[in-house]
Symmetry: C2
Subunit: 674 residues, 2 copies
């Protein structure tokens, strides 16, 4: 009992401290409604889960995983390792009640009600999917004090704002084996995402087994592809997590892999098609004037749709510049004969034929927003990706598509491979203040984070997806008003860390790369550098797509670095704050950082040098020198002109790209310097 | 050229320093013959690999992986990402020549010759398997200086001492998915092991899909099993690494899972068979007097052998105490009728029938050494596992089996799940000074490390297998005379670290567990404790097999700890040395450790406490107090009697088990204390 009193005390303390409920809980995405009652449920070894509803494979497997995660996180030796039916156990610690086994589609009900009282935790939902979502909320609520783990007393009613909350993973540029996909599906479910868009085919590889056309993987995958059994396994795994799986076979462009196997379907006769090893936009394109193209696609799609129960099928349709069409006289002739003025018209002709194939197979076509052309039927779904960077107005094509009658999803602003800050993605509001009719609004289904994989391998992909995708998950689930960046940053730190229990490697693989670089020496000086450096952004890392081949090393310093570098974010905030609202305390913290950096080069020099370490020397040296001078300046309020000159030199070097990273504190250092 | 001179200089320096060649290279297993020529091959982006021999899938895939590992480790952007045939490239940097595609069996030739000169690296081998082994040696040779990566000039001729160098993984007690198996196969190949023994069936789960008897996995796997396609995939993956795969279906004991699906084959009628959640030796046993048992086994084995091309098939046969046989009157009657005096005789009756089934299927029977009974035909292979702990003479049954005419393999001494030191496994010499005829010697095929998985999950299994299994790999490959522990410890540090590039998680998952325990706080104080604590040994952790269920948490402090705890090994050696050959320098190092530990509790107390951290408090507190007093003692050459009393109290606490670990420096602390 002694422990219990300590516990009550700390809870009271907690509730006094917490003015704002979002301070008290690290929930993400933030629920629709939450109230607190300060009546926690204490976790102990007697904890049980009961299921009250029709037999649900997904809820059974998720409850087992729930129990493992609860036990793994707390170290509690649960007596009951498996859920039971509500008939067997009427007084279960966690009672889950639901009415239906959901079909996974854009109408699936994902709402749930969660009530925590000292006697019981209850989750009520219309569907088993809603119940899954509630279980993830319970796991995010787990809290502790010195003597007890507990679930704080809350009442939550929750449902998503958008029905389509997706993550696309490109497995063509770099292949990502089944276990990499599965751990990312687990992470998606942990933040209530529900669409996995599987970019299976591109210039760099055909990654799905076709038994009808085995040449595709034999000639164009380097042996790296999913068997049909693996695809079924992943689809079933995703379904158990309440995640739909949408395949993408990118056509008619991005076709180097397909045409490596079937050059006769290409637009340029005699062209030597081969699997692409570089990044970029390439010319190989299916010939839309060749009937064989449609025979091939129909047979292929007929086979592939059997693996994916989802209503939707993504055909890509992006970035076809039509060069090979222009170079082919027969295609030019065909365009004239069919009154197709532009290559866009020709591609629309192609898209319409492909859509008919898909419709016959019971599938709805999704395509990147290049398919949004005047003649495209509104039955297609427009995947809005282009924006200001591609010469379109801000916000891209999402609203336009919805107004024109298309269902549509947003990826512009959610391109996580661009290595931009979490804040930018978080504040990408799909609708904003645009006024829409109810019908128009309902056509905006949601959005997708897109993980293009030119520069990622299984070693690094998790750190490119997470934690930023958590912010996107909240944007798509939570109310538009949930947009406080400081609150998001506080909550995401906890939720991001917890992905590690699902096998996500975004934290642990940093040290793997740094150990590899240093040949297993002390990596602390490298960590200090890593925490202020970020990979080059917006495709600057792989200039023109030819610095890196698909088989280049992705074990470099830049691969150990992540967006929103930890110390950089803190330091930059301190310097900003010091500009507007100076304090002794902040100043001391700034000096602490400068001291750490000024000493770091000495530590770095203790490493036995190797070529890959030597490349970091200018970065390490100039950072230390600049920090020492700035420290002197802050301490003495002035520095000599020689020191200022040296500082300027240092900063000039730090401003340059180093080994494919940028120094993310450079602006703050310049602020302090001038 | 400037760099080149530096490089030559450092090489000369190296060769002067290196009196002993085993100091110069971190090769493991150590090769049969090696000479040095100080003429290194410099690695650069022009590096290429050529293959000169018949088309070998395994050599192609391994060379591609070789190039990726070379590039990943050095950061060199290789221009050629794939090997070519020797006809295409006559001047390849690394030329691999071989004559045959090997069949994988106990006669496979694994010898190779490796020559490194400034112009070329060449690997010559009779078979493609020999070439694979040589490639791993090249990767272990990679060295660097400030400006260059290089392969030191050496000539190596190499071949194994034993033909059977295995690792057994138990996937029944805890299931280990395909990717866990694959990464461990990669690691095995990296240290030239060649047999993966897959313990697929035991009381705790039936882990292989049977299409003939789907009930087996439906009722007795919790959904955790390998499909036949996955089995084929793993077998093919292993074959590409030159690793044979031997399945084990443990019968007639360890049969809870089988009998959960087929209770009618059990020895005790009316018994409620269920998948076992605890560890230990259980009573459920197949009924050897029931003809249906053999019908079942023949159908099952007929199906399973199609998945495993290897000549051998392991039937377990261990730890059947025959209690259910004793309790069954019909079985007692059967024994009398067939003149089977003991349960061992009855089991031999069973084994002989099973062997006939296997022989009909073209397979040779392997069984744990309980099958070594007077009537057992010598066509069976005896897997020697019992030893002094099981009441047998030292060395167990290996020599006895060989002398009696059986082929035999050794696991006694290689039980890595017992959590004993690397040194113990390393010094387990299979033959020793026993005098054997040539025929007897040839029957000793080799040995296997055994990874029983009662206390491991995918999170921790790698740290239980590695690095200790590297020492076993050397014991089985290298000459008997290669047994210097200090040399082994020096080399294994490097080879163990490099397993991380293959995805082995033995290093990185420590921090995952400590972060989980601390809820992502600063784990440095926990690391300090981890580096002197080792998991309880020889099954003391899971007393009587009932503390832990299969679904218990394996995310505890003990799971973060490993055998041969880093600081403990160093500190113990220092204290030992100080006893025999005292020096100021050693004394200073000892004091450094004591200082670190004495300050650690203060750091530990900064962590926000939780129940799982609070359990560590006695350990942390007593270690700090003891270290402070010992430090005082070393500094002043005496301490007060009150301090001595306090110290004794501290040491008494540290001697107890704490949270399933033992303090691995306790003896050294006591030495210092008295």
């Amino acid at each position: 009992m002694k422990h219990f009193f300590i516990f009550i005390f700390s809870l009271v303390a907690l509730s006094c401290w917490s003015q704002n409920i979002s301070e008290a809980f690290n929930l993400m995405p933030w629920p629709k409604n939450i109230t607190q009652n300060n009546q926690p449920f204490i976790l102990n070894e007697a904890f049980t889960v009961s299921l009250d509803g029709p037999d649900s494979e997904r809820l059974k497997s998720t409850s087992v995983n729930f129990l493992r995660r609860l036990s793994g996180r707390t170290g509690i030796f649960l007596k009951a390792g498996f859920p039971v039916s509500a008939k067997q156990n009427k007084t279960a610690a966690l009672k889950i009640s639901y009415n239906d086994i959901a079909s996974l589609n854009i109408n699936t009900i994902e709402a749930y009600i969660l009530e925590v009282s000292p006697d019981q935790i209850s989750i009520k939902a219309q569907t088993d999917i809603g119940a899954l979502r509630g279980l993830e909320t319970v796991l995010q609520l787990i809290d502790f004090n010195e003597s007890t783990y507990f679930i704080p007393g809350v009442s939550i009613t929750d449902e998503p704002r958008f029905v389509w909350r997706g993550l696309m993973i490109d497995v063509s540029r770099h292949f990502h084996p089944v276990h990499v996909i599965k751990r990312n599906l687990d992470a998606m479910a942990a933040v209530k995402m529900n669409v996995f868009h599987w970019h299976l085919v591109d210039d760099q590889g055909f990654r799905i087994q076709s038994k009808v056309y085995p040449q595709l993987t034999k000639l164009a995958s380097d042996g790296l592809f999913y068997t049909q059994e693996q695809i079924r396994d992943v689809v079933n795994y995703a379904s158990n997590l309440g995640i739909r799986v949408i395949p993408e076979i990118d056509v008619p462009g991005h076709a180097s892999a397909i045409l490596t196997a079937f050059p006769n379907l290409g637009s340029k006769s005699g062209y030597e098609y081969s699997v692409e090893r570089n990044s970029g936009v390439f010319d190989p394109t299916l010939d839309p004037t060749n009937d064989d193209t449609y025979v091939f696609l129909e047979k292929l799609f007929t086979e592939i749709v059997t693996l994916f129960p989802d209503d939707y099928f993504h055909i890509g349709g992006d970035e076809n510049e039509g060069r090979h069409w222009d170079e082919n006289k027969d295609i030019q002739k065909f365009k004239k004969e069919h009154n197709l003025k532009t290559n866009h018209d020709l591609q629309t002709y192609f898209n319409i034929k492909v859509e008919k194939i898909l419709n016959k197979l019971g599938k709805k076509l999704v395509g990147w927003d290049e398919i949004l052309t005047p003649n495209m039927p509104t039955t297609a779904v427009i995947h809005s990706w282009r924006g200001e960077n591609e010469g379109l107005p801000k916000g891209g094509t999402l609203i336009e598509a919805a107004k024109k009658g298309y269902n549509t999803i947003l990826s512009n602003g959610f391109y996580i491979d661009r290595m931009e800050s979490i804040e930018k993605h978080y504040l990408t509001e799909p609708i904003g203040n645009v006024s829409l009719t109810e019908a128009e609004r309902s056509r905006i289904l949601g959005g997708e984070a897109t993980m293009w994989s030119e520069l990622t391998t299984p070693l690094t992909i998790d750190s490119r997806i997470w934690p930023r995708t958590i912010a996107i998950a909240e944007r798509l689930w939570s109310d538009k008003s949930v947009n406080d960046v400081a609150s998001m940053l506080k909550r995401i730190a906890s939720v991001s860390f917890r992905l590690e229990e699902l096998g996500i490697t975004h934290i642990k693989n940093r040290d793997v790369i740094l150990r590899n670089m240093s040949n297993n020496q002390d990596i602390s000086s490298l960590i200090t550098l890593q925490q202020i450096c970020e990979p080059l952004k917006i495709y600057a890392r792989n200039k023109d797509g030819i610095e890196y081949q698909t088989y280049s090393p992705f074990t470099l310093f830049a691969d150990a670095c992540v967006v929103d570098a930890l110390d950089a974010v803190h330091f930059n905030a301190l310097v900003r704050m010091q500009q507007t609202k100076p304090s002794q305390e902040n100043q001391a913290k700034i000096k602490n950082y400068l001291e750490k950096w000024s000493k770091n080069h000495e530590q770095f020099l203790k490493l036995t040098p190797s070529p890959i370490l030597t490349e970091l020397t200018p970065l390490s040296k100039n950072l230390s020198e600049a920090s020492s001078i700035l420290l002197e300046k802050l301490n003495q309020n002035k520095i000599s002109s020689a020191s200022q000159e040296q500082l300027d030199k240092n900063l000039k070097v730090l401003k340059q790209d180093h080994v494919d990273v940028e120094v993310a504190i450079i602006q703050a250092l310049e602020t302090l310097a001038h």
